[in-house]
């Protein structure tokens, strides 16, 4: 998509836009992880501190989310490649 605009000024502009979008996506993903893992793992507000169980739960949640995101991305890329090569 980038290289169809051969003009270098436009390219710089496009890269800036894409960078901004990537940053936004990253932050969105972060916000999603925090929300999902919090609602799943922390349900006991009788104490302020994070218990070790909750800690482990959060660690698993983050890791699984990232792995899941990676796998979905891989499948999506495969699908796109299939469509493009047809």
């Amino acid at each position: 998509m980038d290289f169809s605009n051969f003009n270098s000024a436009e390219q710089a502009h496009m890269t800036k836009i894409i960078e901004k979008k990537q940053m936004q996506d990253f932050l969105k993903m972060y916000a999603n992880i925090v929300e999902k893992c919090f609602t799943t793992c922390c349900n006991d507000f009788t104490s302020k501190a994070l218990s070790s169980k909750e800690d482990a739960c959060v660690a698993n949640c983050t890791e699984k989310w990232l792995k899941h995101s990676e796998r979905v991305g891989a499948r999506f890329a495969e699908f796109n490649a299939e469509q493009a090569s047809q």
């Binding site: 899941h68 890329a77 796109n80 490649a81 299939e82 493009a84 090569s85």
Partner: protein, 485 residues
């Protein structure tokens, strides 16, 4: 005068109440109910209740057994799905082919059987699958032949993976893909699928590497027929005759140019002597009853679905455990005739009815599910005849339509009112229609002849080392958790 009995008959002593009645008589229940004896319902009621209870009970028993059997097999394989897998890894994958059962309008029946009886076990064991259905008879064979051809081209280095696939993080080069395929498997539902599969395999491994355009070949054949020849008409002036033949040649040239594919510069390679190992085959028995007279049997089968569940689950279990053995076919089996003719040829053998008492064949694995072939409708055996009939009728009507088309195109005759509203097909359209019909007829007849009851399964000696079949695992085998990388 009425004589009153002075002494009334003494009342019988009050009956002794015993047991539950002593308590129940104060509850408000009508006392006559407390004295009733239990009684069987009437004869008709008994008949009705027995009949319905039997039927219902048998149905409920069958469904519960189905559930129990399926759960038993699912439990056996569940542990395999718990293995961890890296995000960019892929699980084991099998390919499922389900051809159309001859005579059935619904081509999905084989795959429905797969989805209902085999798939739950595969899903529980986390085995991935790709399903391909044959929309008409012969589709699976063409698909397999094409796949084999493309695979051969890839292996020979003629074709390459497209660049979009190579840049993917999950890209696997051909050797890895092959290894992964061999770990997977091929699932064939029913004997027609098996026949089509073997036919396609044979064709793929016995033909050249170039893409064969069936239309071109057919067009060449049809040119030799004289249906579209110019008719020597006295009314035509010689000069106009000359001017019309270029149109004749131009139209056929134009058609050929449309069909022309880019130059195929692949060298003409002879088919190889030995075939590389193929993924193991899972032969799933499947039958499809069609017809009004089959309805009582269908009802009985509906009450006995546990047998289907058992056979489907067993097949899936043997696939999950990957217990395979080389295909066992006795050594004297002849290789069947040249397949490249068979897939497109129009072998108009006379309608052979299925032999009622076929000699007991002993072809080992090639006899898979042989007894189900007698379920094919007898009317299907008339397909070659019917096609011949249709062809004859078509060619009888063709000259008239051709003459009309030509006359209208040349302007030798005025358009009638009907023709203005519904324009009859032009010559080009007639040619195209004829081509399409010939293709259909030949394809249908060839596919039916391949699948019908008297045709044996295609076999080639090269397959002996290349084919393996999933077999029932020994009863003490249990799915060991495989260590995925």
């Amino acid at each position: 005068m009425v004589v009153h009995n002075v002494e009334p008959t003494p009342k019988p002593p009050p009956a002794r109440v015993s047991g539950v009645k002593t308590v129940l008589r104060y509850t408000g229940i009508p006392p006559s109910w407390l004295d009733k004896r239990p009684k069987l319902p009437s004869r008709n009621w008994l008949i009705f209740l027995t009949a319905s209870a039997t039927i219902l009970g048998y149905g409920v028993y069958d469904r519960r057994e189905c559930k129990r059997i399926q759960d038993e097999y699912i439990e056996k394989v569940q542990s395999l799905s718990e293995d961890p897998l890296n995000p960019l890894d892929v699980s084991r994958k099998v390919t499922v082919y389900g051809a159309k059962w001859p005579g059935d309008e619904d081509h999905q029946q084989a795959l429905k059987y797969f989805r209902k009886y085999v798939k739950p076990i595969l899903v529980a064991a986390a085995v991935d699958f790709d399903m391909y259905s044959g929309k008409k008879l012969g589709d699976i064979a063409t698909r397999i032949a094409e796949d084999v051809r493309l695979r051969r081209r890839l292996d020979a280095g003629i074709d390459e993976d497209p660049i979009q696939k190579k840049v993917l993080p999950t890209y696997m080069d051909p050797e890895e893909r092959r290894k992964r395929e061999l770990e997977g498997g091929i699932v064939l539902i029913g004997r027609p699928t098996f026949k089509e599969f073997m036919a396609g395999l044979k064709k793929g491994w016995s033909s050249g590497l170039q893409k064969v355009d069936g239309e071109e070949i057919l067009a060449q054949e049809l040119e030799d027929d004289h249906y579209f020849d110019e008719v020597d008409d006295d009314m035509l002036a010689p000069a106009s005759k000359l001017s019309y033949s270029p149109i004749f040649t131009m139209s056929s040239q134009a058609l050929q140019q449309k069909r022309a594919t880019p130059e195929d510069t692949t060298p003409d390679v002879a088919p190889p002597q030995s075939i590389p190992q193929l993924p193991p085959l899972l032969l799933v028995p499947f039958s499809n009853r069609i017809g009004f007279t089959q309805i009582p049997i269908m009802i009985w089968e509906w009450f006995n679905k546990r047998r289907l569940v058992q056979s489907g689950a067993e097949a899936a279990y043997s696939l999950v455990l990957a217990n395979s053995r080389p295909i066992s076919v006795p050594s004297g089996v002849p290789s069947t005739s040249e397949p490249s003719e068979q897939l497109l040829s129009d072998s108009t053998s006379s309608a052979e009815h299925p032999t009622e008492a076929s000699p007991p064949s002993d072809l080992g694995d090639l006899d898979f599910d042989l007894d189900k072939e007698r379920l094919f409708k007898k009317s299907l055996y008339k397909i070659p005849e019917e096609v011949e009939q249709a062809r004859k009728e078509y060619y009888e009507k063709l000259p008239a339509r051709l003459a009309t088309a030509r006359a209208l195109a040349r302007g030798t005759r005025e358009w009638t009112k009907d023709e203005v509203e519904n324009p009859p097909p032009t010559e080009v359209e007639l040619r195209a229609e004829r081509m399409k019909r010939e293709q259909e007829w030949r394809f249908n007849v060839a596919s039916w002849n391949r699948v019908k009851g008297d045709t044996p399964v295609e076999w080639d000696e090269r397959f002996r080392d290349a084919l393996r079949v999933f077999s029932k695992p020994p009863s003490d085998a249990s799915p060991a958790p495989s260590s995925e990388q």
